[in-house]
């Protein structure tokens, strides 16, 4: 059973639909305590980082405990940014801090007509150093996805390329499109709106949930 954490940031319809299409069972835990004993945790999100304020200390503790107990966690879009220490979008709202780094606003480039928000389909590329996959480490999340596969983004802030980055995307800046560190996973794009590529990636996460480490 996958716990889909609903903290009121946008609607979960398309994430639910994607999980159903992949044959996964899910529920939205009403309390942080209900996260215990799940096979996987998903923190979705669209919109503003400030909305993660609703994930208070009780939620944070419950999610950290669940991950420590061996439950994989996937953050999507703002949910991924929240895995880091924080975001310039809402400097007074800390992230859960499972990954080092802070999210910053993307830069546009008027001369090249590259706009912010970054909206649309862009490619998943092999990340540069200091990413571990750059040194030959493999990614479970990106398993079976061809380099250059395109996915759907819609965001103005993004996480930096750190050693946890397993796929990078460039829109003026090169940022982390997907991250992975032990049982903590995150994607800046929307797998639930990224057609076959997105479903494949969600399937990879569900496989990790089903198989443990």
């Amino acid at each position: 059973m996958i716990a889909l954490v609903d903290y009121g940031a946008g609607n979960l319809t398309s994430v639910r639909k994607a999980l159903s299409a992949l044959g996964a069972e899910y529920q939205t835990p009403a309390t942080p305590e209900a996260c215990a004993g799940m096979t996987g945790l998903i923190v979705p999100g669209v919109g503003h980082f400030d909305a993660t304020r609703a994930l208070d200390d009780r939620w944070r503790a419950a999610l950290v405990d669940a991950v420590r107990a061996g439950t994989p966690l996937l953050g999507i879009c703002v949910g991924m940014q929240w895995l880091f220490e924080g975001s310039a979008e809402a400097p007074d709202v800390p992230g859960i801090g499972l990954l080092p780094g802070r999210c910053e606003r993307l830069h546009g480039d008027g001369a090249r007509r590259l706009k912010v928000p970054h909206v649309g389909w862009n490619s998943l590329d092999a990340p540069p150093a200091p990413a571990r996959t750059h040194q030959g480490s493999t990614s479970r999340l990106m398993n079976g996805l061809a380099g250059g596969s395109q996915v759907y983004f819609t965001h103005s802030f993004a996480a930096p390329v750190t050693e946890d980055c397993v796929a990078a995307t460039t829109h003026v800046d090169t940022f982390a499109a997907a991250v992975e560190r032990d049982l903590v996973f995150g994607v800046q794009f929307h797998p639930e709106k990224s057609s076959d590529v997105g479903l494949h990636m969600l399937g990879n996460f569900l496989a990790v949930c089903a198989g443990g480490r």
Partner: protein
């Protein structure tokens, strides 16, 4: 590199896809869910459903249509037409829309753009502008193109951005349904005036029209209806063509 998006639009009335010329002469063009299923397979990047009647009865039918379309696609879905309040937007989002498109209501109540941007994020709020050439300028029309809004399209697009719109859906009323090509001057004028993506609409007839509007028109996305509805042109053929022209697309 960010791809240029190819978007399929369905004008829906009473649960059926219809298509007119210059906003008139409506013809039936099929079942929305069946069309969505085909588009999903062919590689369309996004789907827009516009309710073109927006009476109370049709709005209830629209929620069923949105739900049926959303079941067929794992792509961004935009819903517009008759969204006049936060409640209307919530109904569309709850039925499965990722974005809502505001037109007449945004001009009448510009604060609605900000209200919805605060609730769902700017990425979920599109402001649709129907524009017609008036000499060297582009005038905004509302109420399905029947009423002049006494606003300039470029200036209104800027205001919509400042109020929180995440994208502009820009329709040339002069070109709508004519298949004479997108209005590249209109599109470039708006696209260069704002920092949010602009979706060009109205006039798609051949593959070269898409190439033009992505280059000369500076469009971030291009929307078409009839050329996709009747399966005259396959989306994948269009995208192969665009890639050969050096335009970045998702294949």
């Amino acid at each position: 590199m960010l791809s240029k998006r190819v978007i399929a639009c369905m004008d829906v009335r009473d649960g059926q896809v219809v298509k007119g010329v210059k906003f008139q002469q409506l013809q039936h063009a099929g079942d929305p869910a069946a069309l969505a299923r085909r588009y999903n397979v062919e590689g369309i990047d996004e789907v827009v459903v516009l309710d073109i009647t927006a009476t109370l009865e049709s709005r209830q039918a629209l929620a069923r249509t949105i739900h049926a379309v959303a079941q067929e696609i794992f792509l961004p879905l935009t819903v517009g037409g008759g969204i006049r309040s936060e409640d209307d937007a919530a109904t569309a989002v709850d039925a499965g829309a990722d974005k809502v498109s505001l037109n007449t209501a945004a001009l009448r109540t510009p604060g609605l753009i900000t209200t919805l941007a605060n609730r769902y994020g700017s990425q979920a709020v599109i402001v649709a502008i129907d524009a017609k050439r008036h000499g060297e300028r582009f005038a905004v029309y509302v109420r399905s193109g029947t009423t002049a809004a006494e606003r300039d399209a470029v200036e209104w697009a800027r205001e919509a951005e400042s109020r929180g719109a995440g994208e502009i859906l820009l329709t040339s009323m002069d070109r709508d349904g004519t298949r004479a090509g997108f209005d590249c001057e209109l599109t470039a004028a708006v696209s260069e005036a704002v920092n949010i993506p602009v979706i060009a609409s109205g006039g798609a007839g051949g593959f070269e029209h898409f190439a033009e509007v992505f280059t000369r028109g500076a469009a971030d996305a291009a929307l078409a209806a009839s050329i996709f509805h009747y399966a005259e042109s396959s989306v994948s053929d269009l995208k192969q063509y665009l890639r050969r022209q050096g335009i970045p697309v998702r294949l």
